[in-house]
């Protein structure tokens, strides 16, 4: 069996997220599996680096699947490009080591969150950016962001219900950049809990809006209580940005 690695980008607007949910639902995994199954004549299952929620985009998602197909990597790439809907693009098809697993082998991941910070929304990019009309205090947001860095229990920053699994994750870095009206927040870490990036961003925005103080982040981490953190920022501003193996 060959083990094939896919590098994918997508506009998540129309989808219920990455993970397949039955056969009739619009999911990115489902769309790609359907095309690969048609291509090979066999039922293909792909393993993604992780799930993305409904409405979340990816500049870089990675997945792998096993196949006996004799098609070259380039033929697979061309087939996928031809038959996938135009909001999902497989950019690369590579032969991977037989042990490569797109989820288990992730070393670090980063997410990008985009904010349009101006009184009025931008009609041309409105579907792929979160609009915040109020002035944001970027330097306070940067102070708060630094407090997330390191290994923490992120129970206050997830909507995951199960308490059986560890909620300890390490955040390697957070960059916040503003250029004209666009603010980009990039968060790198060894892994992220469900909704963790969106709740971290929602909390940073509370700080930026002066509704929360930057040093409250430490207390919220400490208390392990979702109700203390900020709201979950909208999916449409979030992009899976890169994955390192």
């Amino acid at each position: 069996m060959r083990n094939i690695k896919l590098t994918i980008s997508y506009d998540g607007t129309r989808y219920k997220g990455w993970q397949r949910l039955g056969n009739s639902e619009m999911t990115i995994q489902g769309k790609i599996e359907d095309v690969l199954s048609k291509m090979t004549g066999k039922n293909v299952e792909i393993i993604g680096s992780g799930r993305t929620d409904g409405g979340v985009h990816a500049l870089m998602q990675v997945a792998n699947f096993r196949t006996k197909s004799k098609m070259s990597n380039n033929e697979i790439l061309e087939y996928l490009y031809k038959y996938l809907p135009e909001d999902i693009v497989v950019k690369k098809v590579e032969s991977a080591n037989e042990k490569f697993h797109a989820r288990y082998n992730v070393k670090s991941k980063s997410y990008l969150y985009k904010i349009w910070n101006y009184r009025y929304h931008n009609p041309l990019i409105r579907k792929h950016i979160n609009h915040i009309p109020e002035r944001l205090n970027i330097s306070e947001m940067k102070k708060a962001a630094r407090l997330f860095i390191g290994e923490h229990d992120f129970s206050s920053f997830t909507s995951a219900k199960s308490k059986k699994k560890s909620r300890v994750r390490e955040v390697y870095g957070i960059d916040i950049n503003k250029e004209d009206e666009i603010i980009e927040i990039i968060i790198r870490g060894n892994g992220f809990l469900h909704n963790m990036v969106r709740i971290m961003v929602g909390t940073l925005l509370e700080v930026g809006l002066d509704r929360m103080k930057s040093d409250e982040v430490l207390e919220i981490l400490d208390k392990k209580d979702r109700r203390l953190a900020g709201p979950t920022a909208p999916a449409k501003g979030l992009y899976l940005y890169s994955i390192e193996y």
Copy 2:
């Protein structure tokens, strides 16, 4: 009567263009007039700096209208922001000199044309950029662009049928910049004929694809024959970019 100047940006994707075409058609002018007429209780007509075709966007469009309304400029701005569809945003409402005319008083205008130059399209910006998969020779395109600069009869570069009006226009400058996979072409001039920018870009692309030589531009200008120029580049990559009075 007050004379009010509007600065507008829009995503042209859903529209048949700027100009009102009867009451049932989707046009930008129509949408804005409908909201202003509802606001004032009178039939409002707005004058745009010029038309944009179906599917063409605007980062900056300017229009004016006359009204006896007692609402402040800021109240008009807020009303328009509230009632216009989210793909049309009036960014500024200003009091203009009584003689100001958004079309007649234009001194210069510029258009931006965006190209995604990579083997595969970009799913996140696909609706607002023209995708050219083949490699483009940018330095030849720049050579060809220089030949457009100055005052010329642009008969070869318009789909306008009427020969009664002058087809002489002056192009002040053309900038072509490539950053990663994105090429931006900005064309400034004192005015543009119908489809002129799109046919100029279509011709520059023929040069970039090595299907036409850069110095053929002079001959095409000289022959005044639309069939000699390149194809009309797709509307979705074109943005009305700025207007100077």
